[in-house]
């Protein structure tokens, strides 16, 4: 005991007392039963989607390299695909718009034309088109006097551009008559005619009521009042009143006080 009293006591020794702390035996019995109940609940209970999130993230993290490679390939393919489409569109647009304006504005020498036709088999080649398309602008700027203001230059360019648009539309209508008639290039008159006919159809729903329907209504009304009987005077009076009211309503609705069908408004006293 005397030797124990002279023993060095360190922090590690004191912490070893914590290691010796153990719960009593009954604690383990309740621990076991509670754990079994929780385990059964975990087996039977349905797991929510939130519990599946860590597993999804783990799977994604595990296969992040293949996923990344596939995503990069898909992005590359999409980029190449859409960029080729847009390049084609850019190539087509100037060639269509520049064709009519080139003829009167630019005079290309036959040698240059031959060289261009040899280099590029298509008549309006995509590379040549921007150069040709810029020619009207250059000519417009050169046609304006050197002392003129920038506004006049802009007006000249705007005029040229409107000419180009008009000729392009004309070309389009000429080459694609079906599309030009059906699409946005169709005339406003056609649209108005269509809408007018639809409006007329929806304006007067009672105009389509035929006399047979009117007779059917009066017959149904007679059947709805069996106590009076079809031949009784009161029923006849009631059906006559209803018919009269319906005809009056229809008359008022059919009346057009302003007579909009006529081109001018006539006020009568």
């Amino acid at each position: 005991m005397k030797q124990d009293r002279n023993r060095k006591i360190t922090v590690e020794d004191l912490l070893s007392l914590k290691r010796a702390e153990r719960p009593p035996a009954e604690f383990w019995a309740s621990f076991e039963s509670e754990l079994r109940a929780k385990q059964l609940a975990a087996i039977v209970g349905k797991r929510s989607w939130r519990d599946a999130l860590p597993r999804i993230f783990t799977t994604v993290y595990r296969y992040h390299l293949p996923f990344g490679a596939v995503a990069a390939l898909a992005l590359t393919w999409a980029g190449i695909h859409y960029s080729s489409d847009s390049v084609d569109a850019v190539r087509m647009a100037p060639s269509v718009s520049a064709r009519p304006s080139v003829r009167p504005l630019v005079s290309v020498s036959p040698a240059v034309q031959a060289k261009g036709s040899l280099d590029r088999p298509r008549a309006q080649s995509p590379v040549a088109s921007p150069q040709v398309a810029s020619a009207p602008v250059a000519e417009a700027s050169s046609s304006v006097s050197e002392a003129s203001a920038p506004e006049s230059l802009k007006a000249a360019i705007g005029t040229r551009f409107s000419d180009v648009v008009a000729t392009t539309l004309a070309d389009f209508r000429e080459n694609q008559p079906e599309l030009a008639r059906r699409d946005v290039f169709s005339s406003d008159r056609e649209f108005e005619t269509t809408v007018e006919s639809m409006r007329e159809a929806a304006a007067e729903p009672l105009a389509h009521v035929d006399p047979a329907a009117e007779e059917r209504n009066s017959r149904l009304l007679e059947a709805a009042l069996p106590a009076i009987g079809p031949s009784s005077g009161a029923a006849t009076l009631a059906s006559e009143r209803v018919r009269q009211r319906a005809s009056n309503d229809r008359m008022y609705e059919s009346m057009d006080p302003y007579e909009s069908s006529s081109p001018s408004l006539e006020i009568r006293f």
Binding site: M1, I9, S30
Partner: protein, 211 residues
Amino acid sequence: MNASKALQKTLVVSPERKLEADADLAIVRRVQSGDVAAFDVLVCKYRERVVGVVYNMTSNREDAADLAQDAFIKAFQSIHRFEGQASFFTWLYRIAVNSTLSHLRKNRMRSFFSLETIQGDDPVAREVLDALTDKTGAGRDAFIGELQEKLNDAMQKLSINHRTVVTLFEIDGLSHQEIAEVMDCSVGTVRSRLHYAKQLLQAELQPYLRQ
């Protein structure tokens, strides 16, 4: 075996631990193949250690029981994801420690401490207690209770991470490498935290120390 390879990475690789990891992996494979009852073997094997770790981190018996049960349930639910890259023991400890850390962070202000009985059959504990007091009977029990309270207070004054490192190293006997794996930090961080925590404990428990 994968478990053996994983254990070779730790600083303390004893043949017993390798054998233990291989045996655990065999049981885990049985559970993965559908033998649910085999999980009870793992529960019986590790429940005292897991409860001990959680108890020393929370200083509360009820919380320790709940958190240890939750750790076993989580391990059971996700045992199909265990591939044997680490030992089952380390994996289970990581689940328990992470659950306890999140519980402590959520309930920072709540502190209900409970004391467990120091087992008299532990030779080291008996030797330390004999060195600290020559009292017997009720006086000795009172002294032990007071010392336990002081120890709990000192532990609770540590930060959560420092307390965890001290618990895993000094009380549960894990190596620095194993603690680093469990806490998902570097070995240097573990050593630094351990050094700082011991300095704080030394200052708090100065009346009971004898140089």
